[in-house]
């Protein structure tokens, strides 16, 4: 019985002076497993054992708030780990206490980034596995640290502008939109530069399907 997914029989894509070849199970894993993995990582980040991530982020934010704007911000941590930690700013015109939830630490963005990067398929020709894994690690580290810093500064400016009197809803939505645009562009550039296999595999699938449709006609 002939295997339909034999490497030798797969068509090769020539793009940007490089050659790429992907198997069916790699493409299926990217499109089917990655959403499940992203959702699983999101729930993993919500586990009580990962409470330290919220504590670390809150502490990081309060240190920079005090360093840059001298607001005497404090982190309130609940010992039972039932509630997310909060940042308290004294002499605040409004309430002054902000809970740092999973969406505040961009947990959904990190889930997407990690889930997608882990499942980017490697080309069967044109690059070695060791080099590909190293590129993946590089992209993972750069993306996570970049999005983390962007998010921390988003929250810093959010708390500062709210402290200065701008209503929370207005500044939250506008800063969120700005950071989403910057974050998406940053992630796309990092991927396109160091891990183009994500986009190439999607294009490869598109070319395979269009080739099969044109053959049937």
């Amino acid at each position: 019985m002939k295997r339909h997914d034999c490497i030798q029989d797969r068509p090769i894509l020539h793009l940007n002076h490089k050659t790429y070849k992907f198997l069916n199970h790699q493409l299926a894993t990217l499109f089917i497993v990655s959403p499940i993995l992203c959702i699983s990582i999101y729930f993993f980040l919500s586990l009580r054992m990962n409470y330290w991530i919220y504590e670390f982020t809150s502490s990081f934010i309060s240190v920079f708030l005090n360093l840059l704007f001298n607001l005497n911000a404090q982190v309130i941590i609940y010992p039972e780990h039932d509630i997310f930690p909060s940042i308290f700013i004294p002499n605040h015109p409004f309430e002054g206490s902000y809970a740092i939830t999973i969406n505040c630490i961009a947990g959904h963005i990190f889930s997407f980034i990690i889930g997608v990067i882990l499942l980017v398929p490697s080309s069967k020709i044109g690059s070695s596995k060791k080099e590909f894994v190293w590129r993946k690690i590089k992209v993972l580290v750069i993306s996570i640290s970049g999005i983390f810093i962007l998010n921390v500064f988003r929250i810093i400016f959010l708390l500062y502008f709210n402290f200065k009197g701008i209503p929370f809803e207005i500044i939250h939505e506008s800063l969120f939109f700005l950071s989403a645009v910057i974050g998406a562009i940053f992630f796309a550039i990092v991927l396109e530069h160091w891990l183009p296999e994500l986009f190439v595999s999607i294009y490869y699938l598109y070319r395979l399907i269009s080739q099969k449709i044109s053959k049937k006609r």
Binding site: H14, F43, S46, D82, F84, I109, F112, F199, Y204, Q211
Partner: protein
Amino acid sequence: MSQDEIQCSKCGKLVQKDLTYCSQCGSLLTHTPTSSLAQPPTTPIKTKKKIPYKTITFFAVVAIVDLLVSFLFMNGFQLPVSSYGQLYLIFFFVTAFSIGLLWLAGSHASFSGGGGGGGGMEGCGYVIGAIIAIAIGAPLILASVLSTVATNIGDTISKAINQALEDIFTEMFADVEIPGFEPLLFLGLFAMLSIIILYRYHLKTKKNSLSN
């Protein structure tokens, strides 16, 4: 006519260029060079089946077994189903599922049994697997259809499962916040940028850049 097809000189139909014989009428295609060392065709010529005997046989067997089983159940057991027709329909799915599994296992068993001792073991495995699946699946199908008894059992089991899941959930998670539109905004922007990048690739590549 595409570049991969040629016309048969006998029947006039379009066939694949790389074939030696016409797939429609079986005649030798004229483009192939005749030689004293001509090899017989490696791809067998498929004949079109007109009557699906296997499918008809399968459903005939299912109908007969269903008749017998429904008759036995109607006369031998107290059931919350009043008419023979209803029972026949209920058992139709059970019988079709069971016979289908056994048929499948049998065909796999006969295929792998030809390979010797190891193949025979594999064939046995298929049959045993089919029997286990029937033993689990048939009661499930019956229970889901004969709802009076199944409802009470189903309620009790589902309540127990929900309670257990709730307890596990509150133990493991501090607080799960369902994200609003925020991830969709990032995903939407990333998708838009991905489409731009993919379109750039499309403009850069030639039409025949996907080659074997």
